[in-house]
């Protein structure tokens, strides 16, 4: 994997279809056309997180990095509980993307609302089947998909803005007729626009130069800022409230730029976002579950492979879970997807806070370990990150549609409690079973004959 693919992977994983809805939702928290300021602040905070992941990935350049740095920094049971909770973000994003793409296609084709469920089924079905057949989107396809999605979004936003013919409304006054709390909430939501840029660290073993990952994440955050800032400015300037809170604000933006053709263009672009999200989400999550099952922390069933060496149980499970969540969002209706956005933002902020903690902790525990990149002023920046991301995560988890709503927090707590319960009760049993299996399995490697020279000694020497 070269630098270009590393950048497209990082950017493409972050820029899911749900970003359009999150960007439009963010607009409602701030005055006029000033949402870009929230995105800028969130981007600067994402750069703080980039520093943490850069240092941690440099220390552990492996797909299993999250397990390794968390295991070094904290109790393994805590690390596993956090990791399982974090994994739920992937299900949320895949489910939300399936819903967003399905809703967009239903709208543009003027189909009855119920058809969205069929789109969701078809999209996830294709994703699951292609995964089971071991089909992985090639790096160059991923590059093209990312460039097409980001360029089209940028062009549509700029053209729509240029056609509006009116000056921006309060582009520098986010607090005009708004409270500071609104701004904080918009920043918390803004974090979600960058979420998953760090997933590229799981490709650490695939890059030609380990520094590519670190640089790619930085470039991805900068690209995401530009695209999201321009897009939200266009949305805030051109779309009314009903359009902003709909499940397909990007289609209205396309319509404002190019009329009916723009509507179709953005529907197509929305579908293309799923290429990266589904490909990255399914592969990252299923392989992680497989590795965790292989090390004995999840049931062995999850490590079963099909004839194409694909862990089929995690793939089917992820597809099924995503389908249920997506259908629940469709069935509840309204802006229920905003709960997913809030949960995603909260979980992402949580993992950034965990990364800050790990950086700080490992400076003390593994001081001599090689670090190609070091967070400067680590005590200040890591503690600041811990406090800021912890606070933003909490804010994001109790706010939906600019109103107090603890549902995201409740769901996260339920998932987290389930993870803790599983880690405390089931993992020790699985580990004991695995230890018993190994103890009962005789060692196959022949014992060295008595009197043989210890391996590694010069030939000809004998043990008396």
């Amino acid at each position: 994997m070269g630098m270009r693919t590393a950048v497209s992977t990082s950017t493409g994983l972050a820029f899911a279809a749900l970003q359009y809805l999150a960007a439009a939702g963010l607009v409602t928290y701030v005055a006029g056309d000033s949402a870009w300021i929230s995105i800028l602040v969130a981007g600067l905070l994402a750069l703080l997180a980039w520093g943490y992941f850069g240092e941690l990935n440099g220390m552990f350049p492996t797909a299993a990095a999250i397990r390794r740095y968390m295991a070094h920094a904290m109790d393994d049971r805590v690390a596993l509980s956090i990791t399982f909770t974090y994994l739920s973000t992937i299900v949320l994003v895949v489910a939300a993307d399936a819903f967003v793409v399905g809703a967009a296609l239903t709208h543009v084709l003027h189909l009855p609302a119920g058809v969205t469920v069929l789109w969701i089924l078809a999209l996830l079905g294709v994703a699951v089947l292609s995964n089971l057949r071991g089909i992985k989107v090639a790096g160059w396809v991923q590059d093209i998909a990312t460039v097409v999605v980001l360029s089209a979004t940028l062009v549509v936003s700029v053209v729509a803005l240029s056609r509006s013919g009116t000056a921006l409304h309060a582009p520098l006054q986010p607090l005009h007729h708004r409270s500071g709390a609104d701004f904080v909430e918009s920043v918390a939501l803004g974090i979600f626009l960058y979420s998953a840029f760090e997933w590229v660290t799981t490709s650490a073993e695939e890059v030609r130069d380990p520094k590519h990952i670190h640089r790619a994440m930085f470039i991805a955050v900068c690209i995401l800022f530009v695209v999201c800032a321009v897009m939200t400015t266009a949305m805030s300037h051109l779309l009314d409230h009903q359009q902003l809170v709909s499940a397909y604000p990007q289609l209205y933006l396309g319509q404002r730029a190019f009329g009916g053709a723009g509507l179709w263009l953005m529907a197509g672009i929305t579908a293309v976002t799923a290429v990266n999200t589904f490909n990255g989400g399914f592969i990252t999550a299923s392989r992680f579950i497989y590795a965790t099952a292989r090390e004995g922390s999840l049931p062995p069933l999850l490590a079963r492979l099909n004839d194409r060496a694909v862990p089929w149980v995690p793939v089917v499970g992820l597809g099924g879970a995503s389908f249920l969540v997506a259908v629940a969002v469709e069935a509840v209706g309204g802006s229920s997807w905003e709960v997913l956005v809030a949960m995603g933002a909260a979980l992402e902020a949580m993992i950034y806070a965990v990364a800050a903690y790990c950086v700080l902790r490992l400076r003390g525990r593994l001081p001599a370990q090689h670090r190609p990149f070091r967070v400067p002023l680590v005590r200040v920046l890591a503690v600041a990150g811990l406090v800021i991301f912890g606070g933003l995560g909490l804010v994001a988890s109790v706010s939906v549609s600019n109103r107090f709503n603890p549902l995201p927090l409740v769901v996260i707590v339920v998932i987290g409690a389930g993870s803790v319960l599983y880690t405390v009760r089931q993992v020790p049993k699985l580990q004991a079973a695995e230890a018993a299996r190994r103890a009962a399995t005789p060692r196959r490697r022949p014992a060295r004959p008595t009197g043989a020279p210890p391996p590694g000694d010069p030939p000809g020497t004998t043990v008396p």
Partner: protein, 119 residues
């Protein structure tokens, strides 16, 4: 430390098991790869080639352009080929280091799992 001879002996056993396993033959279909093994403690290098779903004999030295590079101690290589070691566990703990695509890593791990755990 395991000697190069011990690693070669262990590999020969693994090779036979892999090549005799029908399920693995399906898994390795169209997976023609060159894998370099580097023993971090002895500095020995070995090359494993897979072509037509068949594992070739172990070559001493690093031959050709690798698709995957596996770095571990010589003891771990010997244990791994005898099936006495769980490579995933060693990988997660950082004792086995890999360089290559995630699909190739999966296939390599699959070989150990299928021939020893029959899963």
């Amino acid at each position: 430390m395991a000697t190069a001879g011990e690693i070669a002996e262990a590999y020969a056993d693994w090779q036979t098991r892999c090549n005799d396993n029908r399920r693995l033959a399906k898994m390795l279909r169209n997976w023609d790869r060159v894998v370099h093994l580097v023993a971090s403690d002895t500095g020995d290098g070995f090359t494993v080639s897979v072509a037509g779903a068949v594992l070739a004999d172990l070559e001493t030295g690093l031959v050709g352009q690798p698709d995957l590079v596996v770095t571990a101690t010589s003891e771990d290589f010997a244990d791994l080929f005898w099936g006495d070691l769980n490579p995933s566990e060693k990988y997660v703990s950082g004792e086995i280091v890999l360089a290559g695509s995630s699909e190739d890593v999966m296939r390599l791990d699959a070989m150990s799992m299928v021939v020893f755990l029959d899963q």
